[in-house]
Amino acid sequence: MKAFAFTLMPQTSADMFIAGGTTLVDLMKLGVVAPQRLVDLRDGGAHAGISVQGDTLHIGALTTMAALADHPAVIERLPMVRSALLQSASPQICNMATIGGNLLQRTRCSYFRDLASPCNKRAPGTGGGAIGGDARGLAVLGTSAACIAS
């Protein structure tokens, strides 16, 4: 992967942030993303808390998927959320990946992930490889003429 600087505090708006790293390191290895500077977000737990206030569950962005799935309030009152978390990734990934990162996860489209393939999302204007190509598992809603990735 391309070289990058590593820091604990953001310095410019061009910085990219890393928490669990399960999407970012994967994409950096493929060369799909190549940050100039990476900022480590994990800060000893300040943003990794879960609290219940009445009917509202507050989830810190750096809470891991595993910690959320194992929280007593989630087990007791939100079993569908627990089930979704545990089915969406392996136990190892659940131990690493954060909820904030889960919301920011990039598409798994194989054209996006392959630098040799045309991809309007990764390189606008190069064409939508999945359109007319292997589209199994891609989006049926929220598509455009340029991209059908989920």
Partner: protein, 156 residues
């Protein structure tokens, strides 16, 4: 950048590049080649190690962001070479064929039992789904894990 890694109870002070991945630090810098590189993209589980007791994928872990104490397969064996009980269970139940996924399977199994997720064959199948085995030793691995967890239902 300088980092100190605590691996299997010992501290290792290394100078690393931000790009260095924990899996390669273990294998290439520290000669701990028991942990295997399977897919290198977090999909197969062969690179599973324990970080502060939790199972993680070392192929997706930047060395620069690694914070906890790491346990690898080498750390399970006793100082006199005695097999860890889980390793012995794997041998007893023929829970390996080519052996490439086995270090990851064993560490994942140890964590699975410690997490309390080995209460039934169905549980083990779900909670160990992150470790692929192309030789398909799955039923025997489930039997080994249930054996270690003290569960006596019919395996598989």
């Amino acid at each position: 950048m300088d980092r100190t890694f605590r691996i299997n109870g010992h501290d290792h002070a290394l100078t690393i590049d931000p790009r260095d991945i924990l899996l390669e630090i273990l294998r290439d810098r520290l000669n701990l080649t028991g942990t295997k590189k399977g897919c290198d993209h977090g999909q197969c589980g062969a690179c599973t190690v324990l970080s502060d007791g939790k199972r993680i994928l070392s192929c997706l872990q930047l060395g620069a962001t690694q914070k906890g104490e790491v346990n690898t397969i080498e750390g399970l064996t006793g100082p006199d070479g005695a097999l860890h009980l889980m390793q012995a269970a794997f041998v007893r139940h023929d829970a390996l064929q080519c052996g490439f996924c086995t270090p990851g399977q064993i560490l994942s199994s140890v964590a699975c039992v410690a997490e309390g997720h080995a209460t039934s064959a169905a549980d083990v199948r779900a909670w160990m789904a992150g470790n692929l085995c192309r030789c398909a030793a799955y039923p025997n691995i489930v039997a080994a894990v249930l054996d270690m967890a003290g569960v006596t239902e019919a395996a598989e």
